[in-house]
């Protein structure tokens, strides 16, 4: 006890608060997930590929049926958003020939790409600025995966566009993209809503709504037959 007291006296009294740091022991423990434990060096490349693909497909499933709140947040990846974004941009892009009169005023491929990625980034930065406790890429991942209903609506609208258009079919497309919009917003809100402090939730959810609303507007306006 005597030795300890003399040691304790040597601590400077005031600046306890400046100690800062993090200590990590590299390598995962056995408790942190058993699927990471096996050796992937000698497996066929098909298995590696299929495992990643299954992870992406699993996340799509969770977006469609958003029951578990943390299912998308555990391990983020951007493969799903990239797939969806590329698909949407490919379908939505308008022809660039403005010289003749067949201009269809749609966005360019790059413009859809920019809207999706910059939009997701802006929404994420907004929620970070509001004080949400979620990492940047987690939020971008969730926002990207939640595009899935909107992309589904786009595919259905695309199929509808193959037939001759009339007013009923337009309203059908409108309803389908509305459903996609509501579904996407609901899923994203379910995953991201809890990261905000009380009283700021609506401020964080509104940009998400706007983001999906813009994309749904692009979907319903797309009429490039």
């Amino acid at each position: 006890m005597n030795t300890f007291d003399s040691k304790y006296d040597m601590y400077p009294a005031g600046d306890v608060g400046v100690i800062e740091g993090e200590m990590n022991i590299p390598g995962r423990g056995p408790s942190s997930g058993d699927n990471m434990e096996f050796n992937t060096l000698d497996e066929p490349i098909k298995e590696t590929f299929m495992r990643d693909l299954r992870a992406v497909g699993n996340k799509f499933y969770h977006v469609l049926i958003p029951r578990e709140k943390t299912s998308l947040l555990k391990e983020w990846d951007l493969w799903g958003p990239l797939l969806l974004c590329t698909l949407m941009a490919t379908i939505l892009q308008g022809s660039a020939e403005r010289a003749d009169n067949s201009n269809d005023g749609g966005p360019e491929f790059a413009e859809v790409f920019v809207i999706v990625w910059i939009g997701a980034a802006v929404v994420t930065i907004n929620s970070k600025l509001l004080g949400g406790n979620i990492s940047f890429f987690q939020s971008v991942c969730v926002l990207g995966y939640c595009l899935f209903p909107v992309a589904l609506a786009l595919i259905i609208c695309r199929i509808i566009l193959f037939s001759a258009q009339n007013t009923f079919l337009f309203f059908l497309r409108l309803v389908i993209s509305m459903i996609g919009f509501i579904w996407a917003t609901f899923a994203a809100t379910k995953f991201l809503g809890d990261s905000q402090p009380e009283g700021k939730k609506a401020l964080a959810v509104y940009p998400i709504c706007l983001f999906y609303f813009i994309l749904s507007w692009l979907v319903v306006s797309h009429s490039n037959v």
Binding site: F4, G14, V16, I25, G94, N101, N103, G106, N126, W217
Partner: protein, 300 residues
Amino acid sequence: MSNVHTGELLNFQDYSPEHNERTARIDVEAVHTNQYNNSNISNQNYSFDETPGAVPEAETQPQSNHNFWTIEYYQKYFDVQTSEVVERIISSVLPQKVSRNYFDEKIKGKPDLYGPIWISLTLIFTIAVSGNIASYLQNVNKAVHWRYDFHLVSYAATAIVCYVWLVPLALWGVLKWTTLPDGQDEIETQTSNSPTMISLFCLYGYSLSIYIPVAIFWTIQISWLQWLFVLMAAFVSGAVLIFWLLPALKKSKYFYILVGSILAFHFLLATGFMLYFFHGPNAVSAPGVPVTPSVATIAP
């Protein structure tokens, strides 16, 4: 005190023998909130005395500590609750609902950028969407195969971003350099000097909120109704702007010129929106905005 062996002090493995976690972490926030005896430190075999000198220092630090490039620096401009944002939007349309010195007390003291940024973005896309609906309604009875024009977004964005940033900047500069020195009572000039740049951005951003519902109503293709909306929206939000800025404007040498130009810019913005995005094909194009081929094809 100087000959303390630092390697001995920082030997973490001795302090938490019963923790089996692989990651040891010292929570700096916990130190800031004066919880010295939380789980990380409590099972060490000594406890700190209360250190009264450290706590006030830790409380005052977050105001000035953050670098300009970090996200924490900007968090003070987003520190608003939902009810505050709603109240500020109301104050930009109906100032009689809030107290008379709402601007001086609330907005000047705690300007936020959430409202201006998201109101501008909403307005950009509202104008793009309802501009397309308007051009559809103009062509609904014609044989023309109508197509939507995505690029209205770009034009709306350019106009609104320019307006929201450049006009307050100019106003701030003018107010700063033309304010008459108020010789009689120095104390009053100390308390209510000219508004800061951020609070002007905030005020201008919120003043655009009335255009969002108006942009939806502009799709109704009746010319006199559209002009009525222009006059109403520009007058209401311009008048509210003047109302909040009146104490600062009165000190300027060019009081009438400033009031006139604030109102004129507001009318110009509303007229430009209406003529360019919503008006029928017989309209002239908006002043200062070049006619692009896309618009010519939409409104033949």
